[in-house]
């Protein structure tokens, strides 16, 4: 597990009181169910994410945590219940799906950079062709975010020439170039060599400090402790327990949660 300095921790955890109003709700998942064929993968999911909230979803593999966040930008369809993102309800309507995807960035376990395009082209493709931003402006924005993830010198290389950690940082920058309101992370460090986990987590922490709304599926419990406002534990397609990280780790309630934590924290 990676170590991040204590000062970062204090800056990152910002427990300011939030008043609930509709505009403050980033994501609202209400009574959502999903099946793969006959297999009931997600069961009665209720989750409200406020703007600026940082949520970590943990759980054993096959618990449906990745599927859940993939429903939020409609990479997966849900069959029952509602998912409302930035005030737009996700239905089969392609227009709404595009609307949601424009505002929701996603970082994948396997980076999924476009290998035939340079790093800079990876970053500017969507801003130019989805947002209609002029090329020069899109490139300036791209360079800004590449600097932010500390690899501006790689701009003209191809993804295959970069290390895993660098590729994942590029992937984060690529999402940021669309100026999303929400960022989804699907096990962003699981495919990385141990030595490269930290550089990616640092980028994510700095994003959290800027107040980005984030949902991270991750096994990095150190990151969860330092950054999350809320930790959600899932098993068998359902939310088993959610709590602030302090309580979640020191005083888990559900038997399944206790078992899980005893397996991964040693």
């Amino acid at each position: 597990m990676s170590q991040v300095s204590e000062t970062t921790v204090e800056r990152a955890i910002d427990t300011s009181q939030m008043t609930v109003s509709d505009t403050d709700v980033a994501i609202d998942v209400i009574g959502m169910h999903k099946w793969y064929g006959d297999f009931h993968v997600l069961r009665d999911i209720n989750l409200r994410v406020m703007r600026g909230e940082r949520i970590v979803i943990a759980g054993p593999s096959g618990s449906g945590k990745s599927t859940l966040i993939r429903c939020i930008n409609r990479l997966e369809e849900h069959q029952e219940g509602q998912i409302i993102v930035n005030g737009t309800e996700l239905t089969a309507d392609l227009k709404r799906i595009d609307e949601v995807r424009r505002e929701v960035g996603m970082v994948f376990q396997h980076f999924n950079l476009f290998p035939h395009l340079t790093i800079l082209q990876n970053l500017t493709l969507a801003p130019i062709w989805v947002r209609g931003i002029p090329k020069a402006e899109a490139e300036a924005t791209a360079m800004h975010y590449l600097e932010r993830v500390k690899i501006p010198e790689q701009a003209h290389k191809f993804p295959g020439q970069l290390s895993g950690g660098q590729q994942q940082r590029v992937a984060i920058a690529r999402s940021l170039c669309m100026q999303p309101k929400i960022m989804l992370f699907d096990e962003p460090t699981s495919a990385l060599d141990p030595e490269m986990v930290k550089e990616v987590l640092e980028v994510m922490i700095s994003l959290a400090e800027d107040g980005m709304t984030m949902i991270c599926v991750t096994h990095e419990m150190g990151f969860a402790r330092q950054v999350a406002n809320r930790v959600i534990f899932m098993d068998q397609g359902q939310i088993i327990e959610q709590n602030d990280p302090e309580t979640f780790f020191s005083n888990p309630q559900h038997e399944r949660t206790k078992l899980f934590l005893s397996q991964i924290l040693h």
Partner: protein, 375 residues
């Protein structure tokens, strides 16, 4: 507790050159040709085969051949090789078919224009790609049609029945290749579509055309089709063959492209979708460039097959290169024991040159497009 196998490195080992291998021709011979008794035996057998095969081939093609300028009597002489004089004498027929001799300048302009446009198009670093492509794909076909067909600007009308030779072979294969690319890609995408009607239509089209021999398609197009059409309407024979070849080839191409689409990791589709790119933008910017690159060998394979298959149009009475060669071989003025063989060797050589060029170009392109992302 001390471990007797404990180890702490004091100095790092610097990288250095690999040891010198045993170089030189002798070492190469030993390694490549005579490494073991069975290798030596194979080498000797191979050499004996070459010694047996090469001299007669050489004698036929060059040694005893009658070169251009020779006479038919020399070709008829005992032991004469290839009759190149005959090829030379009938060369124009092989290139232009029955195109009127005084009008040869028209196909010549087409040849020159085609070469002048396609060569820079194939060189990635050549400038003005957009204009070049526009000229080649839009202007060139129109100009070619009016030039060859005539009937405008005081040019004599030359019906397609008189077009022939290499000219027709190139027309059919170029039109087939260029038109089957977009149709094949659309069919491949259609076959993967989630929309049931589009998917079914694509599958039906592909399976129908793939399951029918090209000869049948050509026969249907040239003999059956007119029977179904209302009397009085005629569709040009060459045009019918063009359509048949194009649709046939696009069905094959669709399956090749589908292979490329399926080879792409799902993450590529998802990453594009997650960025908000619409289906067509995703397909155009992300999916197709990668999918097509993966299947360049397969696509070129299709093109080479198509180029050679154009010779089948001779069966419906179109005078392509092979058909001109075949019909010239009954030319009594040049009748000799090697007349027909020489003609076929010539036709084979012409086909080989074009196909080999395509093959080499595609290999080169493949290497150029490789951005080092082997996973």
């Amino acid at each position: 507790m001390t471990m007797d196998h404990a180890f702490i490195r004091q100095e790092m080992v610097e990288a250095r050159q690999p040891p010198r291998g045993t170089d030189g021709p002798i070492a190469w011979l030993r390694r490549s040709l005579f490494a073991s008794p069975s290798d030596a035996l194979l080498t000797i057998l191979g050499m004996l085969f070459l010694l047996w095969a090469i001299p007669p081939i050489y004698n036929f093609l060059i040694g005893h051949a009658v070169m251009p300028g020779g006479t038919v009597e020399e070709c008829r002489a005992e032991g004469a090789g290839a009759c190149w004089a005959y090829i030379y004498a009938r060369f124009n027929f092989f290139i232009y078919g029955f195109y009127p001799i005084d009008q040869y300048w028209r196909p010549n302009i087409v040849f020159i224009m085609g070469a002048a446009l396609i060569i820079p198009l194939l060189i990635p670093s050549a400038p003005f790609k957009r204009i070049n492509a526009l000229l080649f794909f839009v202007v060139f076909p129109v100009v070619t049609f009016y030039l060859l067909n005539g009937g405008v600007f005081g040019m004599r009308h030359v019906p397609t029945e008189q077009w022939g030779g290499l000219l027709v072979t190139l027309i059919i294969s170029l039109v087939g290749i260029i038109c089957s690319i977009p149709i094949g890609i659309l069919l491949a995408l259609g076959r993967q579509s989630k929309l049931p009607i589009i998917k079914t239509l694509s599958v039906m089209f592909i399976e129908l055309w793939r399951a029918v021999p090209l000869i049948t398609v050509l026969f249907m197009a040239s003999i059956m089709l007119p029977l179904f059409m209302p009397t009085g309407t005629t569709v040009d024979k060459l045009l019918r063959a063009l359509v048949g070849v194009t649709l046939f080839s696009s069905a094959y191409l669709a399956e090749t492209v589908r292979g490329g689409l399926q080879a792409l990791p799902r993450g590529q589709y998802e990453a594009g979708a997650a960025l908000g790119l619409s289906y067509w933008k995703r397909t155009y910017f992300i999916i197709l460039p990668q999918a097509l690159k993966h299947v360049i060998p397969g696509i070129v394979n299709n093109f080479i097959a198509l180029f050679k298959d154009t010779s089948l149009v001779s069966i419906v009475g179109i005078f392509d290169l092979l058909n001109t060669v075949q019909s010239a071989s009954s030319d009594i003025n040049w009748s000799s024991p090697t007349q027909a063989v020489t003609g076929y060797v010539f036709a084979a050589a012409v086909f080989w040159i074009f196909c080999f060029a395509m093959s080499r170009y595609s290999l080169w392109m493949e290497r150029r497009l490789d951005t080092g992302h082997k996973r």
